[in-house]
Symmetry: C2
Subunit: 337 residues, 2 copies
């Protein structure tokens, strides 16, 4: 492969000139540039990224961090869509993504430390847990950062319009004639969970429907199992809801399971609407009606906000709320008389 020095020797120019030719400086003639480029191609020359970063202080790398309760990492059916889209958008600008470990040869360090060590140009964190100390630390730092799925006044954030999404769901059920609408919620320590609860309550008020405490059950951290358990609690009620708005698709899967095991039918006995629109829910029975979050757009927006900061070389704090929409499938039906 060779170094820039080899290239200089081969072409007879100084390494300064070679470097300039490679980097499109204008104070090198077309002729010598051509020669150098040709020689570079011949010897398969590639600049060493580390050396470049060392001298330019720009690494062309973006650090990514996941922070979610269930520790599934890239298997997360919603977050991985966002990351994939984010990757596409940043790739176009020449950035690489680096998934940092928290382990530097036996010494374990924080993500912030690791990212500083790696000298990344920016950080994207996909976070559901607002209490995560590691995330807090990242947000306090002065590295360009964008946080996805969480709100904060101190840095650029992007998330879906959860309030509107919840309202969409409740209104839809209302229009189907439902009045006893329950909400199986995500934990309030998670922004998305809290916002959807708020949206639910708002919508219920707007519709002059009572907000019954027994119709609002916290199902924790969005897993199938937790959804199932939450639904079982609703099914124990004397006065059962006729429809339930579930804060996440995975939970909704558990919800439907619970309903079926109880000998009831979705949607004939109970209507269920989910949130996220992850891939698998179009294959379950019944196909789940849900509020779709646009992972593509979220990822792109995140990339945009981060790139903006990286080129501006200053910390910005923009908030981008991505619209959601209702996807009608087969898990909701008009209320029985």
């Amino acid at each position: 492969m060779g170094t820039i020095y080899d290239l200089a020797k081969k072409t007879g120019f100084s390494i300064t000139t070679v470097s300039k030719a490679l980097n499109n400086y204008k104070d090198v003639s077309d002729k010598t540039r051509a020669k150098i480029l040709q020689a570079a191609a011949e010897m398969d020359y590639l600049p060493n990224a580390h050396a470049q970063s060392l001298s330019t202080k720009k690494s062309w790398a973006i650090g990514v961090m996941f922070s979610e309760a269930n520790e599934v990492g890239m298997k997360h059916p919603f977050f991985n869509g966002i990351i994939e889209s984010f990757r596409h958008a940043t790739e176009e600008q020449g950035y690489d993504l680096i998934f940092a470990s928290r382990n530097l040869r036996n010494r374990d360090m924080s993500y912030l430390e690791h990212f500083k060590h790696r000298a990344v140009d920016g950080i994207v964190v996909i976070c559901s847990d607002r209490m995560d100390e590691q995330v807090q630390e990242l947000m306090r730092s002065d590295i360009p950062i964008v946080v996805v799925d969480m709100d904060s006044a101190n840095c650029s954030v992007v998330y879906s319009d959860n309030i509107e999404g919840a309202r969409l769901a409740v209104n839809y059920l209302y229009e189907l004639g439902h009045r006893k609408i329950a909400h199986i919620a995500g934990d309030e320590t998670i922004d998305a969970g809290a916002a959807r609860i708020k949206g639910y309550e708002l919508a219920m008020q707007e519709l002059d429907l009572p907000i019954r405490p027994d119709y609002l059950v916290n199902a924790g951290f969005f897993s199938v199992e937790e959804g199932k358990q939450a639904m079982e609690r609703l099914l124990e009620l004397d006065d059962q809801p006729t429809a339930v708005f579930v804060a996440g698709d995975q939970m909704a899967i558990g919800v439907i399971e619970a309903i079926h095991e109880h000998g009831l039918h979705v949607p004939n006995d109970i209507s269920v609407i989910g949130y996220d629109d992850i891939e698998m829910i179009q294959y379950i029975t019944p196909k789940l009606t849900t509020i779709r979050q646009d992972t593509d757009e979220i990822g792109e927006a995140a990339a945009e906000l981060l790139l903006e900061q990286m080129t501006a070389k200053e910390r910005l704090t923009e908030r981008r709320v991505i619209p959601v929409r209702l996807v009608e499938r087969a898990s909701c039906a008009p209320v029985k008389q």
Copy 2:
């Protein structure tokens, strides 16, 4: 944050000694080491990874490349499990993962070039397409590499025991009384597809069952839609199979859909067995019986093989075949008389 030079000034030692203290050289006394470490902690000193890599020629980074037909990247429900497990295993050793773009500031380069540019210590490629020229190039290079889900004599590889998996599936159906067993296959250009076909044929022979060309249908690249179309072709047959072994879970979902749309019942009319055991299939109706590939173990094995090469600093060519097992759920039933 400061550099090693600041640390030297602060402690009064030379940068040589500081570096040695930080790197646990033994020719520095415990006392001075303690002083230096303390000072380092006080000023939040972190070594610059680029400078380190430049001088040690070790980057503590592993390049990862995905190569699959459907371009879903990290959304791939099977591959992302492998990558997640791989990440865990390499993280423990202090390695970071880098997802390279193919774009270096307008100049687009091959993955190999990019990985050389980044000076990664090793490469993991998760590959289904054996014709991918980029992958070929990587395999020809001299960087430590491990390839997942594909076979090759030229580098370390890890994949599931597809032949045995197919055999397991066919035998299972046979034991349920099925004799008309079809195979909806992945494309033969994909190793996994080819191997499962081979396993299917082998098993059929062993059971003295005829291998009918019309019972072996190529469904391409493992998507739901392709599976559905393939099943539709089987359903057009005068002499329909009573059971079908599908080379991938996603295809199996499409297969079941086709059967249902045809007014038939799974498993009462036709038994279906899949391959992979991706998460979502336990939530569909009926829950899919399948051959489970152990993504955790595959990822770990890949990490092991790669780490081995990286520490040995030489290219090894070990082959690791991971066992599979049958997971019985509800999509197969005894044949109707």
